[in-house]
Symmetry: C2
Subunit: 195 residues, 2 copies
């Protein structure tokens, strides 16, 4: 009777691209913001080179130990999912790894989100809900919008909201290196999925 | 040498709670905003009753046919994932179902996101990236914050940004019914995971 009704999806699996896990050093200690940012930037660049997504990478670190907890790369086109920006992927994997919906849960040491480009409106909200205590950004909103990517409704007051919630924010860390991955994407004419 | 290094998560699976798929009628045509909103509200209420998450439900509909494409319920605590608000779950499943990262891709008819409560900052951004043409909300931000939930950096300008991008927005649809699910959650002292 209802043969025209398609089956509906009831689950979705989010996985990193095959190259990602071996692209980073899980065992070293990352001390400086620059050390950490270069992980995010490397992920953004390889994501372009491997044609597995947009020019954005992110990573979660445990602040006290400098250990890498999770990584993320933009996976919108690869996984057909508009919400899978690098930051969201990294946060999901960190929370899965720690079996906690908050990276600030009792018993956990502080965590930080390091992203190769300033977060869009969605990812800025996700940052707030994740419980990270620091947000470290590489390229700027203007670097991304110059490529044609939209960042959505992010305002000065949005960053103030996060700061007021106790999140320390560092911007323009290794900005030139981060921007180079964006430029690489442009030079290869990668798809702008949120024009 | 590195036995203290934990394994890292490389994938995460997001699934609806067991009750969800059979809680809605996938085969009927939903015509009015109220018809559609009652799906989202029912999901929010059952999510509380079944203790599978916060008091929030959402659904994606194809505007022209009135058909239900996907559903979502708040799954933050159940799946240990701070980004899994009802709207994000519904959008992920709709995009998976249609094998498209945009619900406005060529060849697709318009879609709308119906949510039992006005979206937080993250979900408002996700709405923008999803390609939905309409956003229909039940309970208001103030209804949610009265419970102790934070909605994040959402401003008047945030809604204007979405409107400017061509998204039609309807608010306070069946607000009293939507709010009742929030009140049910409060009366049962459900956890406020983003205080």
């Amino acid at each position: 009777m209802h043969s025209d009704v398609p089956p509906h999806a009831s689950a979705v699996t989010i996985a990193l691209p095959a190259w990602a896990e071996s692209a980073v050093d899980w065992e070293r200690r990352y001390d400086s913001d620059e050390d950490k940012m270069r992980v995010a930037i490397a992920l953004s660049r390889i994501n372009v080179e491997q044609e597995t997504g947009g020019p954005f990478g992110a990573a979660i670190f445990a602040s006290e130990t400098g250990r890498l907890v999770s990584i993320g790369v933009n996976s919108v086109v690869r996984l057909n999912s508009s919400t899978l920006h690098a930051e969201v992927v990294a946060l999901m994997l960190a929370e899965q790894q720690l079996a906690s919906f908050s990276l600030a849960a009792p018993g956990l040491s502080p965590h930080e989100l390091v992203t190769s480009c300033e977060p869009c409106a969605m990812c800025l909200g996700a940052t707030l809900w994740s419980g990270v205590k620091r947000l470290v950004c590489g390229a700027t909103r203007s670097d991304a919008t110059r490529l044609g990517f939209d960042e959505g409704p992010v305002f000065k007051a949005s960053y103030e909201y996060l700061a007021h919630a106790g999140i320390e924010i560092a911007r323009e860390v290794c900005r030139a290196e981060a921007r180079a991955a964006l430029e690489l994407y442009r030079s290869r004419a990668g798809p702008i999925y949120n024009p």
